[in-house]
Amino acid sequence: MLSKTGVSDSGSGSDYFSRIGPGKNDPYRMKERLLEKYRDSDILDETEFSIIENDYGKTLHRVERINKPFKTPGTQPDDILSDLKLIHGIGKTREQELKEEGYATVPELIDHDRWGEKAASIVRLFREDDIQKAYGILRKWKNLSDPDLVKLAGLLEKEDFAFVDIETMGLSNQPIFLLGIAQPVAAGILVHQYLAGDLNQEMATLVQFSRKLEELGLILTYNGMNFDIPYIERRLTYYGNRVKFSHPHLDLYLFTKRFLGEEVQNCQLNTIERSVLGIERDFDVPSRLVPDFYKTYRESGNPGPLLPILAHHRQDVLSLADLFQKITEVTLDGSK
């Protein structure tokens, strides 16, 4: 399973993670069983994590390639530029009037007396691939679940996508111990997991994760605007690294609520996975016990309790990729 570069190729997924066994209804008994089973083992033996050292200390990293197809919306700049309301000062009424006058897209307004200059600068942004600035413009006039944002994502190559998810010791200011990025590539999807072997490795782990994230062009999360991204930034600030990620950010929770919300019972990722994406998980650690399981691992060095968390986290980022494709389907179908 291990290739020389340390990237493992898996089929449909988590072979060694599914070695966990039955008893999925009682997390504590599960923990006991895991502790027993992996009693004399350690994290490096049981998983493909390897130790990385950077300027801030040691951290654990693992990358796995999943053979799963991924398609971006594949939009062209002009698909977005048909929305005249991108120009500051043009609202629904004016757009209506201008369209009746024959101006169907923003580029067509470049010669317009009043709107020419503004139209030109917007066209420049989109055609020159200044995705960050383009995102800034869209954010000003659109709400966070507007399909134009999905179209914007489509302007990027799939290798620029970063589906992000984190696992923390609490809900506000406690340490982050696990971060993940799912990055679509030519032959599938790469899942990166950055793990703090102990809490004093948090900073090195955050830095390793941030370095990867800075290489990519678009962040996609589930409730990451409220939780994941500010949380990461806060923990980096705690260590004296004031960082603000300037990537365009699509929070898939907002799209889910708007476009899929009516068909489901609630918008928790688990529910969406089951009802919309058709993904069933095996034994899963309830979120509220994640810190407890990590704590046990930390105190004993026994990797047992950590394995279901790693599996859970891995599935989280993969589900996000699936969810994005579903959302693309639902928002852009027919409106391209």
Partner: protein
């Protein structure tokens, strides 16, 4: 009416039988004026209000402008607020990004000061967006305040919680030029020590943002202002203490109700208040309890044409605002209040202050008396002493009162029980880089926290890894956060804390609120609600309690020459046993109460006093119980000299009947779980007892006095106390402990 005429008139009242034991005239003092240098626009503002700066204000302003940290201890109404607002506004006018943080011990004070600042801001044509930022500030409003307000008013409890989110305060902290702390004499004892640690955490974060603001402190008069300021903040200070504002003649009367035994002290207090109000003197009466404030207001109103209202902390903020306003504007002619009105809320000066019962410290007494006096007009203060030995002592020895030093404020930044919690909090704010934490060395405490799994060392410093919220686990003071809501017809009438509810809102208790009587129908301790109905009964109720101490676990012993002292966990319980129904001073009914005891567990150090000693005391015709009780009080007085605490931080208990025979004396920490004070003195109990003996023996008084055996917070009204018995007991113990 002229104050001196009023005093003469008092002597003609039917109920006057020579109660005026002493009249002290504090002579008028002319004002001294001074000049300070600051922005023209502020000078114009002051001129337009007819304000000339007193020399002490000018001096303070100049010192602050020179860049020094300053502590001002001139009395209330001497214009302290202006002394720090002027330099702050001066900076605001001349530096567009400058910020200032004002900290007050209570929310009521915060809001009061906001008004003052807004007035100055408007007059100076500034746009500072001054705002209060505390527990009551809605979440949605907070980001804007942090971003835009150049003056933020808050309190230590808030700062304690906000520091963890300091990155949200970055702009504010980076530009912070002044930190103003008002009423700092309240930051003493364990509470003060906690506040001192919060300040150190704040300073550490300010340093992180390269910020180094000046500190300006304001305080009531205490014996050690410079030491206190330096302990609290950890920097050196300049002191402005001389009051150069003008004062009119202040007639200070010592009133002894015992001269007229037919009228209780409370009754006489209310008669005094009505008399003064009827003679057109705006009067403020300070009482020792919230209930008495209501009763005095109620009784006095019965004899005056003008209303006399009550004022206390449990009222809703809107009610309190209304009363303060009416006082300031002169509309409200009489108020009976608890010491909630002692702190600097602006109510203007009054003509007369009645102090009903010695408030426990000289500092408080002068704070309360300081409310009397309008500009340079004559004013009147009446101190009504109650029957207990402490009050009576002052009545009989007025010189002791007037010449006595104010109390010392004590702060301890070395008690690990206090510091460790703050070190953990600090680790949630920024990794704690080394063992030097702003000038103190806390390496032992840091090691302990690492061992406990609360902190973990990283290459960047120690980080917090506990699975609890650090700031929630550290309580700045002992005030129980559980409040009881008093509900009438579904509406909130007022709030009170649990202890108060047991005492005053038990089932069938009468509850006075703004002159209206309510009867408590039901006290639901689980839901924390007391339901009342409006009933005009003609009596009031008063509950009685019994205190008990029980040893839960002995943890260590200390062997001295022939005696062993013990240390361990105890539970102190107060049980409300019954209540009386009274019409004025007459008891018309007594009923039992069925309430669980109010208990708290703490740590205590105790020793037994053998039966033979107590029998010898009896043989001498002295009172063994009085002797033990006196030893307990004196021991509590002495402890602050050994343990860097405040006498209000510890409690005591003594008994003539110990289970193993003889008697016993216990001292304990006044904090749930203990705070390390008695643990510290347990080791050196022999030294303490020796000093206690010296204290009592050397005291010139005959039967006892506040300097030796009278305690300001004795639950038994300082009865029974026997000075000679105490001396004998301590001398006999000396033989067994190995001292003297």
């Amino acid at each position: 009416m002229e104050v001196s005429n009023v005093i003469e008139g008092l002597k003609e009242q039917i109920w006057y039988e020579g109660q005026m034991e002493h009249v002290e005239l504090l002579p008028a003092q002319g004002a001294e004026y001074g000049d300070a240098s600051f922005d023209e626009r502020i000078k114009d503002f002051l001129d337009s209000r007819g304000i000339d700066l007193f020399s002490h204000q000018a001096r303070a302003i100049n010192l602050i402008k020179e860049g020094r940290n300053v502590i001002i201890t001139t009395p209330t109404a001497s214009g302290k607020t202006l002394a720090f607002n002027v330099p702050v506004m001066d900076r605001m006018l001349n530096q567009s990004e400058s910020r200032a943080l004002y900290l007050y011990p209570t929310k009521a004070l915060s809001r009061d000061q906001l008004q003052t600042i807004k007035e100055m801001e408007a007059a100076l044509d500034l746009e500072l967006e001054p705002r209060v930022y505390d527990g009551d500030t809605p979440r949605g409003a907070r980001p804007k305040i942090r971003k835009e307000s150049r003056i933020i008013i808050s309190n230590p409890y808030g700062i304690h919680h906000y520091l963890e989110w300091h990155h949200k305060w970055r702009d504010f902290f980076q530009n912070l030029d002044y930190v103003v702390l008002d009423e700092v004499h309240s930051y003493r004892g364990v509470f003060g020590s906690n506040v001192a640690m919060v300040i150190r955490r704040l300073k550490r974060i300010l340093e992180h943002y390269n910020s180094n603001p000046q500190f300006v402190l304001s305080s009531a008069t205490i014996a050690n202002p410079l030491e206190h300021a330096e302990k609290l903040i950890g920097e050196s200070f300049s002191l402005v203490a001389e009051d150069t504002s003008f004062q009119g003649n202040k007639h200070f009367i010592f009133w002894n109700p015992l001269s007229n035994p037919d009228n209780s002290a409370h009754n006489q207090t209310s008669k005094l208040v009505s008399y003064l109000v009827n003679n057109d003197l705006q009067t403020l009466c300070f009482t020792l309890s919230r209930r008495m404030a209501e009763l005095i207001a109620d009784w006095s109103s019965g004899r005056t044409e003008e209303a006399v209202r009550a004022y206390r902390a449990g009222y809703r903020p809107e009610e309190r605002r209304e009363i303060e306003k009416e006082l300031r504007e002169g509309e409200l002619r009489g108020v009976a209040a608890t010491n909630a009105l002692e702190l600097g809320i602006d109510i203007g000066g009054l003509d007369a202050v009645v102090i009903s019962g010695y408030p426990g410290t000289i500092t408080s007494s002068w704070q309360q008396a300081g409310r009397a006096g309008r500009g340079d007009e004559d004013s009147l203060v009446v101190l009504v002493g109650f029957e207990n030995p402490l009050d009576q002592y002052f009545l009989k020895h007025p010189r002791e009162f007037f010449e006595r030093d104010n109390e010392r404020a004590i702060v301890d930044t070395e008690n690990p029980n206090i510091t460790m919690g703050h070190l953990a909090c600090a680790a949630t704010e920024l990794p704690v880089l080394d063992d030097e934490f702003l000038g103190e060395n806390y390496s032992a405490e840091m090691e302990s926290l690492v061992k406990q799994g609360v902190l973990q060392e990283t290459p960047n410093g120690a980080m917090f890894v506990g699975d609890f919220r650090a700031s929630a686990a550290v309580n700045l003071d002992n005030i129980s956060s559980s409040t009881i809501k008093v509900i009438h017809n579904g509406d909130l009438l007022e709030t009170m804390d649990v202890e108060q509810a047991y005492r005053e809102a038990h089932e069938n208790a009468t509850l006075l609120h703004q002159g209206r009587k309510y009867l408590v129908k039901d006290l639901d301790l689980e839901e924390r609600v007391a339901r009342v109905s409006w009933e005009e009964v003609d009596y009031f109720t008063q509950s009685a309690s019994r205190t008990k101490l029980e040893v839960e676990a002995q943890e260590s012993v200390n062997k001295f020459k022939d005696v062993t002292t013990k240390f361990g966990r105890v539970s102190v319980s107060e049980l409300y046993t019954h209540f009386k129904e009274k019409k004025y001073d007459r008891v018309i009914g007594v009923h039992p109460l069925d309430l669980p005891p109010l208990e708290f567990e703490t740590e205590s150090s105790w020793f037994r006093v053998p039966e033979e000693i107590l029998t010898s005391v009896e043989d001498k015709g002295l009172d063994p119980e009085g002797g033990l009780h006196a030893v307990e009080h004196a021991l509590i007085s002495i402890t602050p000299f050994y343990a860097m605490c405040d006498r209000w931080d510890i409690g005591g208990f003594s008994t003539r009947q110990h289970v193993e025979g003889g008697g016993a004396v216990y001292i304990y920490d006044g904090y749930e779980g203990g705070i390390g004070i008695t643990e510290e003195v347990h080791e050196i109990l022999d030294e303490l007892l020796e000093s206690t003996l010296e204290l009592i023996d050397d005291c010139d008084c005959d039967e006892g006095c506040p300097s030796c055996i009278y305690s300001p917070k004795c639950g038994n009204d300082n009865e029974p106390l026997d000075k000679r018995a105490a001396i004998f007991i301590l001398k006999e113990l000396g033989k067994r402990f190995g001292y003297s």
